[in-house]
């Protein structure tokens, strides 16, 4: 499985930029942004992403709701989802995984950690 298109869903523009930059350093792929769950569903509907990176706490539709909607949509149900959140208690992680997350990253994290998680999921198309 190759990583060509990533959808980052976070209400924080700073966080979107941080994650984009970290991804861009190690992966050659298109990166799209959404500010909440509703925007994310619209983006994913236009084109199925290879990976979604989702924050939990967002106004409008939150991350958990988004994940469960993605998992119940036939065209998107297999999209890997990495949850990125500041809530790192075992109960929080469990909630995310039960909703259908593939992996969990607790903020603040280092770019190397993100790279390791994605490396585990995808073949590298082009190494920078």
């Amino acid at each position: 499985m190759q990583l060509n298109d990533v959808l980052i869903v976070d209400d924080s523009p700073t966080m979107r930029m941080l994650v984009s930059f970290a991804l861009g350093k190690h992966w050659v792929c298109d990166i799209r942004h959404a500010g909440n769950g509703i925007e994310a569903l619209a983006e994913a509907g236009v084109k199925r992403p290879d990976l979604m990176m989702v924050d939990i706490n967002m106004p409008e539709m939150d991350g958990l709701e988004l994940i469960s909607r993605v998992r119940s949509t036939a065209a998107l149900k297999d999209v890997p989802i990495i949850v990125i959140t500041s809530e790192g208690t075992p109960a929080d992680v469990q909630k995310g995984m039960e909703a259908g997350a593939t992996a969990y990253l607790v903020k603040p994290f280092q770019p190397q950690k993100l790279q390791a998680v994605i490396d585990h999921m995808f073949e590298r198309a082009v190494v920078a």
Binding site: P13, N57, D62, P108
Partner: protein, 675 residues
Amino acid sequence: MMATQDMLSDDRDAPDASTLLKALHNGDWRVRKDAARKLGDASLEWLSDELAERVSSEHVGERNAALTALIKQGAPALPSLARLLGHEDADVRNLASLAIGLIGDLGAEDILEEALAQEGDPNVRYMMVEALGRIGNPAAGSTLMRALSDEEYVAGAAISGLGSMRWVRATDDIIALLGHEMLGGIAANALASIGHPRAFLPLVRAAQDDPAVADIFTDAAARVYAATCDRYIALYAALRCTIDIPIGSPVVAATRRALARGDQPQTWSRFAEWLGFPLDPPTRLAHGLAEEPIAAARSGARINRHDVSSLLIEFASDDASARALAAEAFATLVEGPLDRRVLRGLAEHEDPVVREALARYVRRTCDDAARDVTAKLLEDADPTVRASAAGIPPIEQIGDMAQAMARFFTDESPLVRAAAARAAAQAAGSGARHLLAGLLEDTDDTVVVAALESIGTLKLHQAAPLAYELLKHESAAVRAAALHTLTSLSSCEVLEAASTLLLTDPAPEVRAAAVRLLARYGTESARDLVWEALTDDDVRVRRAALEILPEVSGPGCVALVARLLVDDDLHEEALRCILEYGELAAEGLERKVAKDAALYALPVGVALVRTPGAYAESAMRHLLRDERELVRWSAAAAIICALDATTRAAVTRMLPKRESDEDTAALLGFIRTTA
């Protein structure tokens, strides 16, 4: 007129609010969203506290819905949110900070700065710093500068905030972070927003140092280089002609990629012609700016790299048009800082065009040396100069803000009074904002409109009654501005009353504004009014009604919108609107609850055509075999819409000439129009 709080009394709304609060816990996110929206429209203190309590709920959906409602309430929710900043749970403090930032009230930075100084959790500090950036009050600039030395995430938010508030003094600190493994991209973006020319070469170097992310740095360099010109063209020209970067370097390659993507209207071949264009001497730049933007863009590098003596010579010309063009180049291209004597000389130039250009230069560059001339420009005899100078940020540094503003508010020129009204919206913490209401009685319409806009931005709730009175003003522009301002100040009942009043306004633009406002609440009466507006004589009003229809109406509106598919002016918008409803319509069809399935068929069909897969094909076959002719034609129309233009035209020619009923005729008419 009744004040907002009177119209939405605690007693009358207590049962409704209680039901809505319960709905925040509902399992369906749409129910939670709807409740949050309605609760957000009511700015009652006790309700804010109730919502704030739910921000610490274990139920993530309820927590986010409460947060959404608080954000929608705006400034009145701030006291409740401020209390949450002291909550024992870091996640709650985090969410409260997020909400305060999204509310964006200019006075909230004090609350955040105080809490930030006490905060131990880096995630919460991150959110607080980001909130300060979102609010964008320059008063928080020093706090954000200090946050640059905090942990990486917090520093990232600080860089973002400094960029969005264009804090020029942070330029060097942010340049130093361009090589940072994690923060480099965000630093580049911030430098692009600040736009100080000093960041250009470091950005180019960063792009060359790290080819993997060259696009990010190159884009930022382009934005820094030519904010007023065609950025990639200007950047390429600068790289090749002025700085002489080799053509194979990453930054040039990234620029070429940007050009090849077609981000700009100019084509690559046209650019090649320009590339052979000889560099103009700086004195010809000003002419180039008007006649040939690329020449000016390319030569802008020379202005930035040399002194402005050539332009000063041009300023001494007898030719007024030459002075005007030179002034334009000065105002938009010259980088600072400039010698104080030069600045003083320009401030005393006899041509007001030159003095006005100087004011714009100061606004753009925030050149510290130029502050000396700001006071002089504010006292200028020419109103255009005073108006331009009134926007120099932060104006409060020149003296007592309220006193200065009071003087501008009574200036003889309406241009200056309007500029001062707009500047008041940026002058946080100033007493001048309370003088704004006085301008609502100004004799000049542009001044009243500017004052209304600033009152809305500052959320001066006490001015709501005055704004409501202006709905009856003789000027359509004032009536529309008053309505817009009320959206920031009033409850849904006031807004519904205002919108209803203006739906019969003689000016179509005012009626359109009134229709758009109806989207803020989804009451049945509002929906009826929007439906009525779909048949308005003026296309602007119909378009406004169509745009907001999905917000005030459920899937049933598809049937209404479908009728607009044959509206000569609106059929494209109608189709887009229906596509947005594709998912809801598909749900309705699956559950077989749609009474008017024929009218659902087109949107469903279009949605299915756009969604490849076995289910879509099966559903489409089902629609094509439906016993109702209109359903079959709707499905066919959806397929035809998805064809390429040539095939579509050919298929359309094969359509039957005679139709069995009026609806089918309308549908076939639509297909022919589209083809």
